[in-house]
């Protein structure tokens, strides 16, 4: 069977974790279906080709590095044209994207350009002889849908974090290629990318999320949540919609039906009652901890470990104990 393509997302000249997830998924699919090689495509300013070896580590046989001074930032038209051209040039069996903000913008455009359908935000896939069977959480995670995707290439976008990057090293061949159109001729231009914080971990990439709700009573009390996240390390801070609506935290911190959907290894809900809107965004976390003063709060129905009581006493104690455990 033909090769499998992976779109390797980068930002500011660095590969993102989702790039390794897409390559790992492509490698897994290729190995499981006796398909051919894994081809990764990465875009960026000159120099991005030097990142290609890292993609080989996760199983890419060939890396196509689309290097151009005009590709320092995402360009929907250039990326679409270049990927569509590549997918038309070979007998590609499938192409993996991730359902990141960029992947969600790009994958549907590539699909429509090729006239093939797209399975998006996928949490399971199996390549069969003439189709791909995928799983996809829908209805705010309350329903799991199994779908059959027909057509070649099969375009799939993976839920970020669903695939754990796994090293399957090989020496990737690197081919430097030109974009299929001049970036300067694009109509849509990304003029600026502002990183919210160089050190702050993104909710989608954190293995631990500490999240706060109205129970914190005031914006400044989020310090307790931040301190706990800081003590744990590799942790991000989230919030409920009530809190972001009140302006205690930026809207981008919202976890829930209309915010971010997250699946960390550990989710610590602080002063969160557990409205359906919020549960929709975090119910797939591996382990859930709830700290709340109301023992009847719905969050305790899904929390693996709950503590009833005053968060203003419990959280600082937890932070201190975590620090102690870390240092010993």
């Amino acid at each position: 069977m033909g090769p499998i393509l992976a779109f390797a997302e980068s930002r500011k000249g660095e590969l993102r974790k989702v790039a390794f997830e897409a390559v790992t998924a492509a490698r897994t699919a290729a190995d499981a279906s006796s398909a051919g090689e894994v081809h990764a495509v990465v875009f960026g300013a000159p120099g991005i080709a030097q990142r290609a070896a890292a993609l080989g580590r996760f199983g890419a046989d060939t890396v196509f590095a689309v290097e151009h001074a005009g590709l320092e930032r995402y360009s929907p038209e250039v990326f679409t044209a270049t990927l569509a051209e590549r997918l038309k040039s070979g007998q590609y069996r499938a192409a993996f994207f991730t359902a990141s903000a960029e992947g969600r913008d790009l994958a549907p455009r590539v699909a429509a350009r090729l006239g093939v359908s797209l399975a998006s935000d996928v949490t399971g896939f199996e390549l069969q002889s003439d189709s791909v069977v995928v799983r996809h959480p829908a209805y705010t995670g309350k329903v799991t849908v199994t779908l059959r995707l027909k057509g070649t290439p099969a375009l799939i976008s993976l839920r970020p974090g669903f695939v754990t990057p796994a090293e399957q090293p090989r020496q990737a061949r690197v081919e430097s290629v030109q974009p299929a159109m001049d970036p300067a001729a694009a109509k849509v231009m990304v003029t600026e990318v502002s990183q919210r914080s160089a050190t702050k971990l993104d909710l989608g990439e954190a293995s631990v999320i500490v999240s706060g709700g109205r129970g914190l009573r005031a914006a400044e009390n989020f310090k307790l949540v931040e301190d706990l996240a800081d003590a744990i390390g590799n942790a991000a801070v989230g919030a409920t919609r009530a809190v972001t609506d009140d302006g205690w935290r930026p809207p981008t911190d919202q976890i829930g039906q209309t915010g971010r959907l997250v699946s960390p290894d550990l989710y610590i809900a602080v002063g969160i009652s557990g409205a359906i809107q919020h549960l929709a965004g975090m119910r797939t976390a591996k382990t859930i901890v709830a700290i709340n003063k109301d023992k009847d709060a719905p969050i305790f129905k899904i929390a693996d470990y709950g503590i009833v009581g005053d968060l203003f006493e419990i959280v600082p104690r937890l932070t201190a104990e975590v620090r102690k455990a870390r240092s010993s």
Binding site: Y74, A112, T144
Partner: protein
Amino acid sequence: MKIAVCIKRVPDMEMRFSIATDRKSLDPGGLKYEMGDFDGYALEVALQLAEKQGPGEVVVVSMGPDGVQETLRKGLAMGAARALHLKSDEVPFDGLAIGRALAAELKDGNYDLILFGRMATDTANGTVGPMVAELLGLPCVTGISQLDIANGRGTARRDLEGASENVQFPVPAVLTIDEGIARPRLASLKGIMAAKKKPLEIKPAQLGPANLVVEVMELPADRPPGRIIGEGADAVPELLRLLQTEAKVL
């Protein structure tokens, strides 16, 4: 400005769902419906743009069975000038099939903007907007959290993971709108009365073949029932022990 807003009628997500006997759809019994969350934001953006930019028209478009007319009337009550119902027995899961039907309808509409919500809250795919853009050969910006249109050019901000980007684009364009950009207005009583008299055109949806089809719908396995391990700060050492030795996540 002439703006089309594509809205979807979705089940109220607060409800308890059950699966129909065909195992491919939701049991419709007892379902209540509403306009998709993000679609409400898209419509609000369109109405504000139309108000600010002078003469124009906001058209709400929806696909599905006759029930979607209720959602379209809500859009009219909020302030859209007219509505278009693309009639089909059901809305397929395949974004490309939907996109083709919408593109066929919208291509000759001379719209300055075609707006969508960032995703439908039911199927949660978020693919139709950018697919329509591609099919119509229009610029597209997805997941917009801030928007400014002036002199035939647009500037938008979209949130990324841990960052945001500023995007410039020419009009006409297809845009998908994220939450938080502008709170959807409530329809006034006057608006609701006026909506009954506004034009609502019905056409058959020109759906193409679907290549992404539902095999099975299931309710995900319930999480194991929650467990309260203690009260107050004294329970913290036990929590830490469980996280380290039982859950092995710390």
